[in-house]
């Protein structure tokens, strides 16, 4: 095909010389394809990004026009005990959620990959939660966590002689109860990605290792895990970002006192939501979004750096 096309492309170029050269024509096409998207990205992404930084330096509250107040929102945040509580909560979601969900997902993917009997069914069972709506499932979990006789989990616990737990009603347990919901919701995706990563490792590596007499654990440690590193890095960053941005579950599981009890479950995004759309303290909310942005940036860069040097 290319052989036939070559000579003709030349006279096509010559005929194009009437107006624009062929190359110039294609450049015009390229920019006309990009015109609408570029306008979109400028108006809906770049301009609002700059505006968010600017608003974080103002006291805008919907009522009066924005006034520049320097870094007052940031100093206010630093001395706001609620902000530090929220910061701690967000960090807990991240620091527990990411390793726990990745460890579980890896174990499941590792064994699921070796199972043949009803493989499709097992995979579907694990994948199903990924297809649900977080807001809807948050209500289901909220119901599961209710005290006896409504809540299924407490009913099961008391039937095997374990005392009832308050779960989302207790300031010390609520965060973990909500985190379990978020881990559950995210695992299907992680398992599938881990399985894709495992499949991408050539079987010859395993065969060679077996010939060399390596045991299953040694193979896992010396071949599977190192070769799975790109997948792991992707998932660590992806799920960390997810846990840092947790909102749907917390909002829906604590609607009577969002982020409660006693702010024990409030993540940064919920604080942003309340500052902006309950108190209409837009400037303060914008400053919090900038902090979220910086945290996300640092986490992404840190993790990429750690994974690279190891």
């Amino acid at each position: 095909m290319s052989v036939a096309a070559e000579p003709r492309r030349n006279d096509h170029a010559r005929s194009g010389a009437r107006g624009l050269s062929l190359h110039a024509k294609r450049v015009v096409w390229a920019w006309s394809f990009l015109a609408v998207p570029i306008a979109f990205y400028v108006v809906v992404r770049f301009y609002p990004t700059v505006q968010a930084f600017w608003l974080s330096l103002t006291n805008w509250n919907l009522m009066r026009p924005a006034q520049f107040i320097g870094f007052e929102n940031y100093t206010r945040m630093a001395s706001d005990p609620l902000f530090w509580k929220v910061f701690e909560n967000t960090f807990l979601y991240l620091i527990i959620g990411t390793p726990v969900s990745l460890l579980l997902s890896f174990l499941i993917a590792y064994f699921l990959d070796r199972v043949h009997f009803l493989h499709g069914l097992l995979r579907a069972l694990y994948f199903l939660p990924f297809l649900t709506t977080a807001a809807a499932m948050a209500w289901v979990w909220r119901w599961l966590y209710q005290p006896v006789p409504i809540g299924v989990i407490n009913s099961v616990l008391s039937s095997i002689g374990i005392p009832q737990q308050p779960f989302i009603q207790s300031p010390s347990q609520a965060l973990y109860a909500i985190l379990a919901t978020a881990i559950w919701a995210g695992m299907g995706f992680q398992i599938i990605i881990f399985m894709a990563g495992l499949r991408a490792i050539p079987t010859t590596y395993y065969e060679a290792a077996r010939i060399d007499g390596l045991g299953e654990f040694a193979i896992l440690r010396k071949i599977t895990l190192p070769l799975l590193k790109p997948t792991t890095v992707f998932l660590v960053v992806f799920s960390s970002i997810g846990f840092l941005r947790i909102f749907d579950q917390v909002y829906n599981m604590t609607t009577n006192d969002p982020g409660g009890p006693l702010n024990s479950t409030k993540p940064l995004v919920l604080m942003i939501y309340q500052s902006a759309f309950s108190s209409y303290d837009m400037g303060y909310a914008a400053a919090q979004t900038v902090v979220l942005f910086v945290i996300l940036l640092i986490v992404s860069l840190c993790q990429l750096w750690i994974m690279r040097t190891r």
Partner: protein, 292 residues
Amino acid sequence: MATATDTLVDAPRSSSSERTMRDVRPGRVIAWTLLFLGGVLMVMPIVLMLSTSLKTSDQIYDLRIIPASPTLANYVSVLTSSEFIRWFVNSTVVAVISTASNVFFGGLVGYTLAKFDFRGRYIVFLAILSTLMIPTEMLVVPWYLMASQFGWLDSYWGIMFPGMMEAFGVFLMKQFFETVPDDFLEAARVDGMNEFTIWWRVAMPLVTPAISAMAIFTFLGNWTAFFWPLIVTTSQDLYTLPVGLSSFAVRQTVQWEMIMTGASLATLPTLVVFLLLQRYIVRGVMLAGLKG
């Protein structure tokens, strides 16, 4: 690529499918049983939700999974006493339009960046990619300001406009268009097609796996979206399904069978459709994960 992932998705690890009953060892049986129990535990919340939606209010303390006398009364009651149907329509409209827009523009931009040679190409790509570093939470305040200035609050367009184009789609499509041989496009050019027709009629059909992956992600993302629709809509009529469900559940307080019915209504459509398409979705997730 498509064939490679086909085998990735369908068959468990490689040659071992030849294994027969001879290979049944106690370790395998235990591993299988544990995996199965884990899987049952994973779907348990969904099963319990559906089961409770079929129970009457005096049966909900009965924790049997198969209801003693299943009834659709809750569904009738929820559908007639609330605006679920309206929310369902809203979610569908928003998700379909956003998906179409993302496929169209993501495909167009990905193609242009992969197949056209012009100055500034790399900068445009980097600029679009850099938006992935900006969390949408950071943009909601400016978007809200923009929407209120232009009167987009409480409208379909208000819900949709931030997500009409996503950088991830551009990235995915660019990766795939790079694998399309130039010869195909050159041949079409010789046939006198214009560049737009070449993209739409020749290039796009060659990357259908990428298109379906992207369509699935965009649809699911918009269908389950909660944060922005919650902010931008204030009237019941414009709620999307997740926001509507949330407001509905708050009003029910202790009528858990009603809340479970609402949650089932919000979850079932995607669950059924996507379960039927499971193969393609798993493949799509793998494709996107591998490329990303």
